[in-house]
Amino acid sequence: MRAFVSLWQDSGKFKLGFIITAILVAVALLKQPLLALHLGDINPLREASFPIFLDPSREHPLGTDRFGRDVLGLVFVGLPTSLQVAFMAGGLSTVIGAVVGFVAGYKGGKVDTTLRTITDAFLVIPTLPLIIILAAYSRNLTSFQLALVLAAFSWPFAARTIRSQVLSLRERPYIELAKMTNMSDSQIIVQEVFPNMAPYVAIGFATASVGAAFSLVGLTVLGLAPSNQMDLGTLISLAWGWGVISLGKEWIFAAPVTLLILLFLGLALVQQGMEEFFNPRLRGQS
């Protein structure tokens, strides 16, 4: 908590990124009330609720799409799905990466060599093509399964950074003092190493979430994501297919893109802010 307060006061980047991310998350969490406020009890996904391709107006701030759906309503539906997949994938890959990184770094020796080889093997797999193939073969992925697939290929990054941090922390004198105090390995990891690792785990989470959000958009724009759900990527993919820009209906395209840019920006700023704060070598000239 202390760290968070000084991070907040110290890093403008973190502050801005955190605010952007928090707003996006708040909008996603408030999906139901916002939809009710905006569309009443009309199902935002029901086709032909309104005339097609309406220009933005007071009633439809972002107009309507080719199937007569309110675009703002679609955004309200799509944003939570995108965030959910991004954070779930980010969280999963951080957890896997942290466990692997911690064990490898702290245990060292053969355990480290084995885990490092596996990690490195995963690192050189060309991720996106593989995900595309996987996604193409399994059409009916739920968002959780999709997050799992994304996480399966992004954890090695987290594992590597965390391992190297643990390696350096393991050599700290206070770890030896803990051994002298007869603490067990697991107590040392939890009480001595982890508190000092928390910022790196948080950085890893932000990085992985950005990565997952990115891959997800890639997949959906290519039309390979689950077809039965609406997320920001799907909306972009649809708009692209309708040729909205040549029709002069660019807002259908612009709305999800802007939100995604905000999401990337928010998470990336949080990540950079934390990294600069906890790794003083990156803190400019001072």
Binding site: L177, P195, N196
Partner: protein
Amino acid sequence: MSNPPLLQLEKATTIFGRGASETVANKDVSLALDEHESRLISIVGESGSGKTTAARCLLGLQKPTSGQALWRGKDIYKLKKQERFMFRREVQAVFQDPYGIYNPFYKINRVFDLTISKFKLADGNTEKLELIDDALKAVNLRPHDVLGRYPHQLSGGERQRVMLARAYLVKPKVIVADEAISMLDVAVRAVIMNILMDFRENLGISTVFITHDLSAAYYLGGDIMVMQRGRVVETGSSVDVMNNPQDDYTKLLLSSIPSPDPDQRWGSAPIPVAAAD
């Protein structure tokens, strides 16, 4: 020889790396501390002499490649859980870096709390506070100067004294002090050494004092072990060895120490450049 020594290195050899990059940190280092006779042993040498490796072997932080580190005649690396507990209780350490030894995440109190709970030193809070008070008194610290503070708020000397107070809490039989004064200001070095000498006199705690500073070893008295490139080159009583060194390397070290008296010049014989580089 009915009782095995309390703490012992038996022909300990430690080798780091393999093949071309192989470094022999310790070669056949032997040392024994008896339970009933408290001693002060200084291990002196320059950087790379292997003195810290010897200390780490004694503490069970470094496993010798061959030879043994023994506690009460048992291999330190093969102790059962209960034996290990007793070993840790009886053999404590003070390290070189009074900054890195503290986990920056926690307040100073945790050092004491953890030590007390891990070694089951107190029943209840009152007894705990009394123990801490007593330990701080033993190193001339006032409780309100250190308790409730973070490590970075204390000076180097204060931090090192907290470490000594921590060792005092456990009432060990041996304290291994690895370069415990080298990062401190001159004015507090003597304070730390005095505490170690008092511990021995009043509580019978032995000290293994690792240092590059021969004058500190002379001041502490007791015995000395001079190390060079992993080997022990000379042993004996500190005062005798320094007044009448036998080994060439010991003589070289002694001739290089600056004396605080300007009239006692550095040894007049020039040092061969090759020996120093």
